[in-house]
């Protein structure tokens, strides 16, 4: 590849950060010290291109070290990987957590998304702005700044924040916290900086009966393999290996497990397709890029029961013939990443991962990939592109991942919650698993309750539980219920008279709703619904990857129309804007490449249908 690298060069510490990931450069042509041999032989081509997948990890390494992806460091990285700088820029600029301009080493990202908004995030941000200057301004003393952020996946303890400190190995840290107050935010932004709060933070509210997916949460020591094994860990893997590949797939098929990531695809069918794919190698990808606003279930599973995630991945890999797995963890989940990293190390040490798993002659290992703040990476093919070091844009389907997935090979991609269900299926058998839930939606489901609810938290309940029952389990609605947002930003609002909807795939579908990622967010009549819906519109406008027109343009038009609708005065114009919103939603649904665009108009549409939006100054009709 002929590359023109111009401008700044990397500093010593930036080169070190890059070399830590890529290893030392091998010749003068790739940024190393020139040698006479360089003038006669240059090795490159596929050898360099084969490292392309390290682009994102290296960008992280640069930012972790110097606080942002500096021009010089990216130039050096491009020389190492033979990537044109424009392409690296295209990749880096697609991630909200990566900064391309200088910024202070310490950043506090304050969530102002749905649940945190309802808990006063806007007021908190306004106060920070007054005291420290606008977001990103570096107004905090001693080189720190604050920024607004989309959902950080701590909706049960709003307001959430992510604190990042760049520097060398000793200095850098990353931690996410809940229940942020103005005082706490200022403390986090003013030197001497406090030690990061202990991992785990406050207690997670976890409830349910039966407790199948969450049985070990809060009980097991998440950092200790022995503790996991003492609580029944790795029994399922042993049983799976005893059953054999085909029998495992049959169990999953018989259990009629449907994917929990949002699309509700039959998991067993996916496993079977990958297992049968003739091309090798097969890859396993665990999608832990949980970024649907209002969702935090996968975070809890990874933070509190990381070995279970690995065990389930190992079973999936065993059944479908994958030797390599990627666990793609949201960039906003530092604790989950640490726990998983530690779990992988322990599992390798004890032969649960590696060349010869359990001594049964099959190889499987897991690599953790750290997201960088891109909702689109939750889409499976965008996630593949992200792992491959490309711009995270969804691919056209077909071909489907089971045939052409990660690195163009057959790939099994499952969500964390989906995988953890497999442990249950293998341990108890398909029949016992399917005995819970409804005929079409078997098993239990994790529900993320936040918003106007007495006891926010993660709830496990059989599929088919009614919305009313679920809200009651969580202590009931706080205040007078106006509506419930089901399924997150990509979901829709329900009317208070729909509380008897059974929360199963078919039950919600019959009411024109979606379970989505399991978000259940009741909203009381005091909440600012206009602002809430606008926040959703802004979220999609920000997160659209820009690849296809219906979504790129549609999400902007949607936000504009909502603004006109909310601030408009004339009734005639109001009708026009509503019609426009419906049209835009229709076009996005019909013509977008991926689920992001297809669902980007869903919440706004349902808000209009339920007449939830009020013209400014007037009471809702």
């Amino acid at each position: 590849m002929d590359i023109k690298v111009a401008g700044e060069t990397a500093t010593a510490e930036e080169r070190e950060a890059v070399d830590d990931v890529l290893g030392p450069p091998r010749s003068g042509w790739t940024g190393g010290a020139p040698s006479p041999m360089d003038q006669r032989v240059a090795l490159g081509g596929r050898q360099a291109r084969a490292q392309r997948h390290l682009l994102l990890p290296t960008l992280h390494a640069i930012q972790d070290r110097v606080g942002y992806c500096s021009h010089g460091a990216v130039n050096y990285l491009c020389e190492r990987l033979t990537i044109p700088p424009a392409e690296a820029y295209a990749v880096a600029s697609g991630y909200a957590l990566l900064a391309l301009e200088p910024r202070p080493a310490r950043v506090v990202h304050v969530c102002d998304d749905l649940a945190c908004r309802m808990a006063g995030a806007d007021r908190l941000c306004d106060e920070l702005g007054r005291r420290l200057g606008p977001e990103g301004s570096g107004g905090g003393s001693g080189g720190s700044t604050w920024m607004r952020s989309p959902c950080l996946g701590r909706c049960d303890t709003p307001v959430a924040a992510l604190v990042q400190q760049a520097g060398d190995r000793r200095q850098r840290s990353e931690v996410s916290v809940g229940a942020l107050s103005v005082e706490e935010a200022l403390r986090l932004l003013t030197p001497p900086y406090p030690d990061p709060p202990p991992p785990g933070g406050r207690d997670i509210v976890v409830e349910g009966s039966p407790l199948r997916l969450l049985g070990r949460v809060g009980v097991v020591d998440p950092d200790d393999l022995s503790s996991y094994r003492a609580h029944g860990g790795y029994a399922a893997l042993r049983r799976a290996v005893a059953l054999g590949q085909e029998a495992v797939i049959r169990e999953v098929q018989d259990a009629r497990l449907l994917g929990r990531g949002g699309a509700a695809f039959p998991t067993g069918r996916k496993w079977d397709a990958v297992a049968r794919a003739p091309e090798r190698p097969h890859y396993l990808v665990c999608n832990a890029d949980e970024s649907e606003p209002g969702t935090f279930k996968d975070r809890v599973l990874m933070e509190a029961d990381p070995f279970a995630v690995l065990e389930a991945m190992t079973i999936a890999a065993f059944a479908s013939g994958c030797e390599r797995g990627y666990l793609y963890v949201r960039g906003e989940y530092p604790l989950a990443r640490r726990r998983i990293d530690n779990a992988i190390a322990q599992a390798r040490e004890h032969g649960f991962l590696g060349e010869d798993v359990l001594g049964r002659g099959f190889a499987f290992d897991v690599e953790v990939r750290r997201g960088a703040g891109a909702y689109i990476c939750g889409e499976e093919t965008a996630l593949f592109n992200s792992i491959e070091g490309k711009r995270a844009e969804p691919r056209n389907k077909p071909p489907f991942p089971t045939a052409v997935g990660l690195f163009g090979k057959p790939t099994l991609v499952n969500n964390v919650e989906t995988l953890v269900n497999v442990l249950e299926i293998i341990e108890r058998g398909a029949g016992a698993f399917a005995a819970v839930g409804t005929a079409e939606s078997t098993g239990t489901r994790l529900f993320c309750l936040s918003g106007s609810i007495e006891r926010p938290g993660l709830y496990e309940a059989p599929m088919g539980i009614t919305l009313r029952e679920l809200l009651e389990r969580a202590g009931g609605v706080r205040g007078r219920l106006r509506t419930v947002l089901l399924g997150g930003a990509a979901g829709s609002f329900t009317a208070p008279d729909q509380l008897d909807v059974p929360l199963s795939f078919e039950g919600t579908r019959a009411c024109g709703l979606t379970l989505g990622s399991g978000v259940v967010m009741p909203i009381d009549d005091e909440a600012d619904l206009n602002g809430f819906v606008l926040r959703i519109a802004r979220f999609f406008r920000d997160e659209s990857c820009g690849q296809c027109v219906p979504c790129r343009v549609g999400t902007v038009r949607q936000e504009e129309a909502l603004l006109r609708l909310i601030h408009g005065r004339l009734d005639g114009e109001r009708d026009g804007q509503m019609a426009l919103l419906r049209d835009v939603a229709q076009v996005m649904r019909d013509a977008s490449i991926c689920g992001l665009g297809q669902t980007a108009g869903s919440a706004a549409e349902s808000a209009i249908r339920l007449n939830l939006l009020a013209a400014r100054g007037s009471a809702p009709a």
Partner: protein, 544 residues
């Protein structure tokens, strides 16, 4: 090769091959369309090797770049051959059945040890061994070359050395394998097809073959000379001797494209009669006694062109030529008429059908079929023939169809223009992505990349000579000297410099080049001049 003057393979074959050696070709810049096919091959998994003195933009795409010294290609090729033979990686069945002269070839390459080749080419022995083994072991492998092979005083020997490698390994005559010289224009191949070479009649039929000649004599009702004509370099030698006094130049700009330019200009200026037929008033045209304005071949006339993959394609007229400019066929027929021969007013289709009657390889290519099939690759002997994807499949027939392919033992010879203390730097010339040859066809279009001429120099040499990047210097060869700004270019190693001939009015690069030509092909050694680079006197540097 083996009698047919064209590349053996189709473009699509390079997309499906396993290994590609770009030898003396910066196709990324000089053949961007072909390189796009190469990239498809690379993306599909082909290994790419680049043999080039410079680490060109093509070489940057390669898995391995071999930074050979200018003019040592035969040493490298012969050493590869010896290594392949010693490692037992050659193809004895193919050699036995389809080739001749292997024993002599084997003896000839025996002295070319890896160590000797490392000494002569500068490429480490391990890298030579690697490329030899990779080439021999590949199921499908292609060698592609351009002027880095042919613009040498021993151009034909260079080509033969590459052909030998393909014969040794059986990498020719099979799908995905082959030997491919890349053509610099859309219709270089077509010129050869139509007999615009001194020893061939249309369809690569030898002019010195009496039987073939008789066919043309009869068709044209005249006597075709029984000896081959002069190639371009011989023409200039004949001008020098006074044997050639009149010249009819069609679509060529020798006043600026010939090596040793001052000398060439001098000869052209002193011709008795110079006629230039062109679409531009070139430097050569400005010297002419008569200029015949021609219609532009690609948009103002009907006809065909032949691409590097031997594909004959129709060209259709889109525009009327400007007033006074006339179609080439019309001009030639009018000249014939005034010389006393009435050829009438043939259309391009009439002329093409005459080609089909006389050239067996084109016989099956009616205009109708060319249109229907989107072009046809020769040979296409009759109207039921689909055309030929690749050449020399006959070598894999058992027994071989037609004559066996000969090995041709060749020996390394250094460039004619030797390096010395006075002229210590090797200058090689070439082209850039956005310009073509002397710029006649490309200079009229603006390009963001075009910044005029530079002497590309290793940064180490620049520092040694104490000239800054961008500073004007004096460059001298044994033939002349000029001033040009320097550009530091890490693609050049110390001792190696690079220039183009894109800006002859600004920088007459060919003042420096040597007109040492290959007696067999007539190509001058543009790729190897010895130069000296000097800092300008302080008064002159103000212009930098």
């Amino acid at each position: 090769m083996f009698g047919a003057g064209g590349g053996t393979s189709s473009y699509r074959e390079i997309e499906e091959t396993d290994l590609i050696i770009l030898w003396g070709s910066n196709a990324r810049e000089t053949h961007p369309i072909f390189f796009h096919h190469v990239l498809k091959g690379v993306r599909a998994g082909a290994r790419l090797y680049a043999v080039d003195p410079r680490r060109t933009s093509s070489a940057q795409w390669a898995d391995t770049w071999l930074g050979i010294d200018v003019g040592t290609d035969i040493s490298l090729a012969n050493a590869m051959a010896r290594e392949i033979i010693h490692a037992g990686l050659h193809n004895p069945e193919f050699i036995e059945r389809a080739t001749t002269g292997f024993a002599a070839y084997r003896r000839a390459v025996e002295p070319y040890t890896l160590e000797r080749a490392e000494r002569e080419t500068g490429v480490p022995a391990a890298a030579i061994k690697d490329v030899a083994h990779a080439y021999a072991r590949a199921d499908r492998a292609q060698i592609c070359w351009t002027l880095g092979i042919t613009e040498h005083h021993n151009a034909v020997d260079n080509v033969l050395a590459l052909i030998n490698l393909a014969l040794l390994t059986g990498h020719v005559g099979r799908y995905g394998c082959g030997l491919n010289p890349l053509r610099g224009q859309n219709n270089v191949q077509g010129g050869g097809d139509m007999g615009a070479i001194p020893n061939k009649l249309p369809g690569f039929q030898d002019v010195e073959d009496a039987a073939l000649r008789a066919k043309f004599d009869q068709a044209w009702n005249c006597h075709v000379p029984d000896r081959r004509g002069w190639h371009l370099s011989q023409m200039f030698e004949a001008m020098e001797r006074g044997d050639l006094t009149s010249l009819y130049v069609i679509g060529e700009n020798p006043a600026q494209s010939e090596a040793d330019q001052q000398h060439a200009m001098h000869l052209l200026e002193h011709l008795d009669h110079l006629v230039v037929q062109d679409i531009f008033l070139t430097q050569t045209a400005q010297l002419a006694h008569v200029v015949l304005p021609a219609a532009a071949g690609w948009c103002e006339s009907e006809g065909t062109v032949t691409s590097s993959e031997r594909r004959v394609q129709r060209v259709r007229k889109a525009l009327e030529p400007p007033d006074g400019a006339r179609d080439d066929i019309e001009i030639i027929c009018e000249i014939a008429r005034r010389l006393g021969h009435d050829w009438g007013h043939p259309s391009s289709a009439d002329v093409w059908n005459e080609v089909r009657r006389l050239s067996p390889m084109h016989a099956g290519m009616s205009y109708r079929r060319l249109e229907e099939l989107g072009g046809i690759q020769w040979p296409c002997p009759d109207e039921t023939h689909p055309g030929s994807l690749f050449l020399h499949g006959r070598l894999w027939q058992d027994p071989v169809g037609g004559p066996r392919a000969p090995f041709s033992a060749v020996q390394q010879e250094p460039p004619v223009d030797e390096l010395s203390d006075d002229f210590p730097i090797r200058l090689t010339t070439g082209r850039r992505l956005d310009s073509f040859n002397t710029g006649v066809q490309s200079g009229g279009y603006s390009s963001p990349l075009r910044e005029g001429e530079f002497l590309h120099l290793a940064p180490e040499d620049g520092k040694e000579l104490q000239v800054a990047d961008g500073e004007r210097v004096r460059v001298s060869s044994r033939r002349g000297s000029l001033e040009v700004p320097v550009r530091y270019d890490p693609a050049c190693r110390p001792g190696l410099a690079f220039m183009t001939l894109h800006f002859p009015d600004q920088t007459a690069t060919n003042i420096l080049t040597i007109d040492a030509t290959d007696p067999k092909s007539g190509t001058a050694e543009f790729k190897a001049s010895a130069i000296r680079v000097e800092k300008l006197a302080p008064a002159a540097t103000g212009r930098a």
